[in-house]
């Protein structure tokens, strides 16, 4: 029997990741409005990346299509929350039911996730039969189709133009809450039998099939769950910017999210979170340099594009020198204190020298 510490260890990863976020957010909440916006933006990306991770990390199938789900989420949020009078001249041809509604933004975010999940289910039904590079190409095709439709379906999306007038819903606390929820659900999923079965197909598809795992079904479940969070992130992003433009949800964000996932480590939740934190911090640092800086003795001229160049180079270096990412696919190890106590208990169920536990335990 090792219930308590067992749970403690099992809860450690999501707890630690949420604490990390809480610390960052707490620090940011004392900062300027600009700082808060930067952190909010990073938290929305965290929902994207953790959402993508649920499928990509557990299945090992690289998806280039998830930003399409984000786009769908953003437009669903726009349809549901833009005030009817604004909608009537932005999208005069919107069907009556949508044209008249005005949902609260939080509910619309859930609906956005649900819509993305439904779409993922429909395309995933055939798509999840593909494996390896064919599956990646297929998801890319989905992204391209979604983008082409969103940027040309004038009556529903306003085409190349932008939809505006979304109420601002996404602030620091809201983004934090969704980011933490995504982390917790991703963790729960990967610890259930579903998660383990999908992970077994990642390690060896043939062996998993031989052991009776229904690869198609397991992938589809993860695909739908993952699309839900990415769809929500689309709504969060829409309510963050207040504007929805189709071309936002294409290659640049796709590249950004994949870079974050790969840099952190594709196969662990900690990697996904760490990737977002590292890349966002790096990006912010470089944005300062990009603007041009005066170090007193040295003036660095403004260099637009620098941020992207460094990100791309960092991604390449990681792929070449640390292909499993910064975390090497591992989760955060529990703190040493707990480890020591556990080892101790295993050796001796009834501690003969209680003081020993103190030496190993509370002093750290």
């Amino acid at each position: 029997m090792r219930p308590l510490l067992g749970y403690g260890e099992r809860l450690w990863t999501p707890l630690a990741l949420c604490l990390l976020l809480a610390a960052i957010v707490a620090a940011a909440s004392f900062g300027s409005a600009g700082t808060q916006r930067i952190v909010t933006d990073a938290l929305i990306k965290l929902v994207v990346v953790v959402g993508t991770y649920i499928f990509v990390g557990n299945s090992g199938v690289l998806s280039f299509g998830h930003i399409g789900f984000m786009g769908i989420g953003a437009y669903v949020a726009a349809w549901l929350t833009i005030p009817p009078e604004t909608k009537s001249f932005l999208l005069p041809k919107l069907p009556g039911l949508l044209a008249a509604t005005e949902w609260p933004a939080s509910l619309a975010a859930v609906a956005a996730g649900a819509a993305a999940a439904l779409f993922a289910f429909i395309v995933g039904l055939p798509l999840m039969r593909l494996s390896g590079i064919s599956a990646s190409i297929g998801t890319f095709a989905v992204l391209a189709v979604v983008n082409a439709v969103l940027s040309n379906w004038t009556s529903m999306t306003g085409g190349q133009g932008s939809l505006y007038g979304l109420p601002s819903y996404t602030n620091l606390p809201v983004a934090t809450a969704w980011a933490m929820l995504a982390i917790v659900i991703a963790w729960i999923y990967q610890r259930t039998a579903y998660g383990f079965r999908l992970r077994s197909t990642r390690e060896d598809e043939t062996a998993a099939k031989a052991a009776g795992v229904d690869v198609h079904r397991e992938r589809l479940i993860a695909f739908v769950l993952s699309a839900f969070f990415v769809g929500v992130s689309g709504a969060l992003y829409a309510h963050f910017l207040g504007v929805v433009i189709a071309k936002e949800f294409y290659l640049k964000l796709t590249f950004m999210s994949i870079a974050m996932l790969v840099i952190g480590g594709l196969t662990s939740l900690s990697g996904a979170v760490l990737g977002v934190v590292v890349v966002s911090s790096l990006g912010e640092l470089l944005r300062e340099v990009e603007r041009g800086a005066n170090l007193g003795f040295l003036t660095i001229p403004a260099r637009p594009g620098l941020q992207e160049v460094v990100l791309a180079a960092a991604l390449l270096l990681i792929l070449i020198f640390r292909p499993r990412g910064l975390t090497a696919g591992r989760e955060l190890p529990p703190p040493r204190r707990w480890m020591a106590r556990r080892l101790y208990r295993h050796r001796d169920p009834v501690p003969a020298h209680p003081s020993k536990a103190d030496i190993h335990g509370s002093s750290a």
Binding site: L130, I133, S136, A148, F255, E308, V309
Partner: protein
């Protein structure tokens, strides 16, 4: 009649451009399972090279621009793809995305993000009178270039030692290596050839759209990618065929679709990719390249 002829000419021109793109992508995929998204940036680099060298005499511009694109292709192979040769196709795809993003934004850093007018070979915009038809010079030139490039490529692959080695390495890398094919040389050769193909596309494409910008390579590479999949990944004749098929479909859709559906042309093309992947994943011309090995 003349309308049908015009469609045919359009289809060959559009399709030929896609075929050149698809061949550049297919060549590299066949030999190292790399879907090279950065191929589009080779096209972009070709256009920028011609823009930079505009003051030199025409033939020199062409020679230097080809050399520049080929060198860039070789440099990319050496710096990014050679260290990853043992990686999975998905990793290679991410790497090529990174290279593409890197080159695009390096161009932004060096020359700015704003599009620039493409002034090289401005005569291409003139109209020629042939048999009573007014034909844009660009169409004739691109037709000649496309046919010449395809012929030279076929000769190169079928009649030269390195070409035969390349096809052997594409078919079975291990067996080729065991029979003494030097992998680095062959892969370098493939990248150089793909660079030369990219330059031809950059000349025709930049003249068509009349300008150059850091992200100008994205559209051609995406369409070339569709063509490669339709034709069958890993098959060169399939890639060329796929290019012409996509060209014919694109021109056909333009003619057939109602005007309010025309913007969805790309959605139809990618929908087709999905269908091909699901129903005939080997493409028009099947090879062993896509089969997943246990």
């Amino acid at each position: 009649m003349s309308e049908a002829l015009q469609y045919l000419l359009d289809a060959i021109n559009v399709g030929g451009l896609y075929a050149l793109m698809a061949l550049g992508i297919g060549l590299i995929f066949g030999i190292m399972r790399l879907i090279n998204f950065a191929h589009g940036e080779l096209v972009m680099a070709g256009a920028y090279a011609m823009w930079l060298l505009i003051d030199l005499p025409g033939p020199l511009v062409i020679i230097f621009a080809i050399a520049a694109v080929m060198l860039l292709a070789l440099a990319v192979e050496r710096a990014a793809f050679r260290p990853l040769r043992e990686a999975t196709p998905a990793t290679l795809l991410v790497a090529s995305f990174a290279v593409s993003y890197f080159l695009q934004n390096l161009t932004v850093m060096l020359f700015g993000a704003r599009p620039k007018p493409f002034a090289f070979a401005a005569q291409l915009a003139d109209n020629l009178l042939i048999g009573g038809f007014r034909v844009p010079a660009l169409q004739i030139v691109s037709l000649v270039l496309i046919i010449a490039a395809l012929l030279i490529l076929i000769l190169l692959l079928k009649r030269t030692a390195i070409g035969v080695q390349l096809r052997a390495a594409a078919q079975d890398p291990t067996a080729a290596r065991l029979s003494g094919v030097r992998v680095n040389r062959v892969i370098g050769f493939a990248f150089a050839v793909s660079g030369a193909l990219a330059w031809i596309v950059s000349l025709i494409y930049a003249a068509q759209i009349g300008q150059l910008s850091p992200n100008m390579g994205v559209r051609p590479v995406v369409i070339g990618f569709v063509a490669t999949i339709l034709g069958g990944l890993g098959s060169l004749s399939g890639a060329a065929l796929g290019g012409f098929v996509v060209g014919a479909i694109a021109v056909g859709l333009e003619a057939v679709l109602a005007s309010d559906l025309r913007p969805f042309k790309e959605a139809f093309l990618f929908g087709l990719v999905l269908f091909v992947l699901l129903l005939r994943p080997q493409g028009i011309v099947a090879t062993a390249a896509l089969r997943e090995r246990v």
